[in-house]
Amino acid sequence: MVLKDLYDRFRDPKAIKALSKEIEKEAEKLDKTINIMEVCGGHTHTIMKYGLLQLMPKNINFIHGPGCPVCIMPKERIDHAYILAMREDVILCTLGDMIKVPGSKGSLQDARSKGADVRFVYSPLDVLKIAKENPDKKVIFFAIGFETTTPMTAALLENAIKQNIKNILFHINHVTVPEVMKELIDSRDEHVDSYNNQIDAFLGPSHVSVIAGSKIYEQFPSKYNRPVVVSGFEPVDVMEGVLMMVKQFVEGRCEVEIQYRRSVSKEGNLKAQELIEKYFEKRELFKWRGLGNIPKSAWKLKDEFGEFDAEKIYELPKEEIEDHKLCICGDILRGIAKPTECQVFGTACTPQKPLGSCMVSSEGACAAYYKYGNLL
């Protein structure tokens, strides 16, 4: 098999066109508009990159969710990374986009231009090599991501312990999907109705579900009356996921379904889950940029691994930093507003100089709207 076989048929123009027709046919049977939240930034990216909104009937609306680990990182935690990186005895490693996002002091890229040793790695396990090559430095892994990347961080810690590498430390920012989905449904302004969430259904993330299994969504149909379809990241996957969703509404069903069967099972990857449980425990609260504090929505290292925890070893500021007051990212994430309704969208807030969370990474809703346009 070549790499191409993995994606070619999931981008097949004929299949996309056929699914678009079928969705339209089914959607005609609906008596209301359904608002589908694609939780994951990967889906937002696919929807915008392949122009899928242009293929949707009028009564299917997308709400772009908070599933972008870089976007939801609060400024105070980016400041932690910056402060750590500026220490002379530290090499700070992180994943991709994180390097570009500004905190209150600047981005990691800025830190690097001031002489800090900041490196981006493709795999957390690359940190092992960096630590071995630099025994006189502390190599801090600024760990970000949802369920997808958490096991890799755990694997890095496991390897560091096994190989007795003492100079690797962790700053853990791993977050979890179901808690933020619950928060989005539950949160409301008690005094007015216009801020209630508009979400009718969820398109479940692909990679997160490979690890965690579709079981993590079962509470949504049963407790919250919101169906979930776990879908893959390619355009044919998304179209098929939407079709399955529309059919649930037409047929009056409300359940968890898996479109992304080629990789997702109900139970998920049990080994990866064990690895997470072994090294991590839930934080009481974790602040999400644009959404505020969400209970039990993030991991931290268990106390017994405190010697690896950069948050325990270094004195880091605790104060919260507010987002720009014109920013409406919170409303966008709740589905109350579209990026283009924001008065700073594309003017004061651009991917080069983001004010709000949804503009910071290519997976954020605003960045995707800005980059690909919204040509309906």
């Binding site: 790499l3 392949y50 570009k100 080069q352 040509l375």
Partner: protein, 330 residues
């Protein structure tokens, strides 16, 4: 001769002379260089065009070329893209102490080969050696003078012009990135690095009405069409499926999360051509590369924007690349 470059080889003395005589002049010698004076008097040129470029690439040797080939082709291509025939080049090296003399000679030999393809001459040069770790192997700067044959310019582009590409895209960027990240592929990607004058020469001889050409180097095809769209306040409508990308390049892009449109090319160019001549232009381009194709047209629908049309009938903008993508690749 020593096996590695020493600081004394850049000091202007005997060792410096030896490096020039034994390595550089062995391959590159002509009536201009033989005079060995501080500056060179050039023969008369009608309508000269002048350009300069510096080259700092890691790795120095890659599949499909090396820094020497890249430097000559790159500088000459800048002239060719304006419709100017490359004629005279300056050649400056900055070499890191300890660099292998054998590798240096390999680079000089590629330079010679590429000069011949362009029928151009090095008429002046310089060699400096810097202490270890103050440069990365070899840096090359080339300034080049060409003679105007035609004048291609973005200012000629207008609504209705047809946009062509001379081959499949993103080979150079993908190949450099794969080798830097240590990604091993079953079929290694060959960089598209090459001199474009022979192709441009053919197009001019066949009297194809070319409005503008640009080689899609840093920033890739996305940068070229966006720059044109902004400069002319026009819209470029590109059909995504017409832009060929090889399976290997596509694979690298999938793994690393890049769009092929923003990756660099070093021997592939975009041309805006009068619509009546687009077929003729395509036939000529196809003689050189079967992946050449007509990829779009110039309109005024969304001024300053590039529209990308999918095969399933949706449209989106193709943005100017920004931020850090591939540090130091050309």
């Amino acid at each position: 001769m020593q096996k590695t470059i020493t600081l004394s080889m850049g000091n202007g003395g005997i060792e410096n002379q030896e490096l020039i005589e034994k390595i550089i002049f062995r391959h590159i010698k002509n009536e201009f260089l033989e005079r060995a004076e501080d500056a060179t008097f050039l023969s008369e040129l009608k309508n000269p065009a002048f350009t300069t470029d510096s080259f700092t690439i890691t790795p120095l040797f890659f599949k499909g070329g090396d820094i020497g080939k890249l430097a000559v082709a790159g500088a000459c291509n800048d002239l060719s893209m304006m419709g100017a025939k490359p004629k005279f080049l300056s050649l400056s090296f900055i070499i890191e102490e300890g660099f292998s003399v054998r590798d240096f000679e390999k680079i000089v030999r590629s330079i010679k080969k590429e000069l011949d393809i362009n029928e151009a001459k090095v008429v002046t040069g310089d060699t400096k050696v810097v202490p270890k770790e103050s440069c990365d192997g070899v840096y090359i700067n080339i300034s080049a003078i060409g003679e105007r044959i035609k004048e291609f310019s973005q200012k000629n582009i207008e609504v209705g012009d047809v946009v062509l590409i001379s081959g499949d895209i993103a080979r150079h960027g993908a190949s450099i990135f794969a080798s830097r990240e240590g990604i091993e592929l079953e079929n290694e990607i060959t960089s598209d690095c090459k001199s474009l004058w022979p192709i441009v020469d053919r197009l001019i001889r066949e009297d194809v009405k070319i409005k503008a050409c640009r080689d899609a180097t840093r920033g890739g095809v996305a940068a070229v069409v966006n720059e044109w769209a902004k400069a002319k306040d026009l819209c470029f409508e590109i059909e995504e499926s017409k832009v060929k990308v090889s399976d290997e390049v596509r694979g690298i892009c999938e793994i690393l999360g890049f769009e092929p449109f923003i990756l660099a090319n070093e021997g592939t160019f975009v041309a805006a051509v009068d619509k009546n001549d687009s077929q003729k232009a395509l036939e000529i381009l196809k003689e050189f590369n079967e992946n050449a194709s007509v990829i779009g047209i110039v309109t005024d629908e969304y001024p300053q924007k590039v529209l990308l049309k999918s095969e399933w009938g949706t449209r989106r903008f193709l943005d100017m690349p920004s931020g850090e993508i591939l540090p130091r690749i050309c």
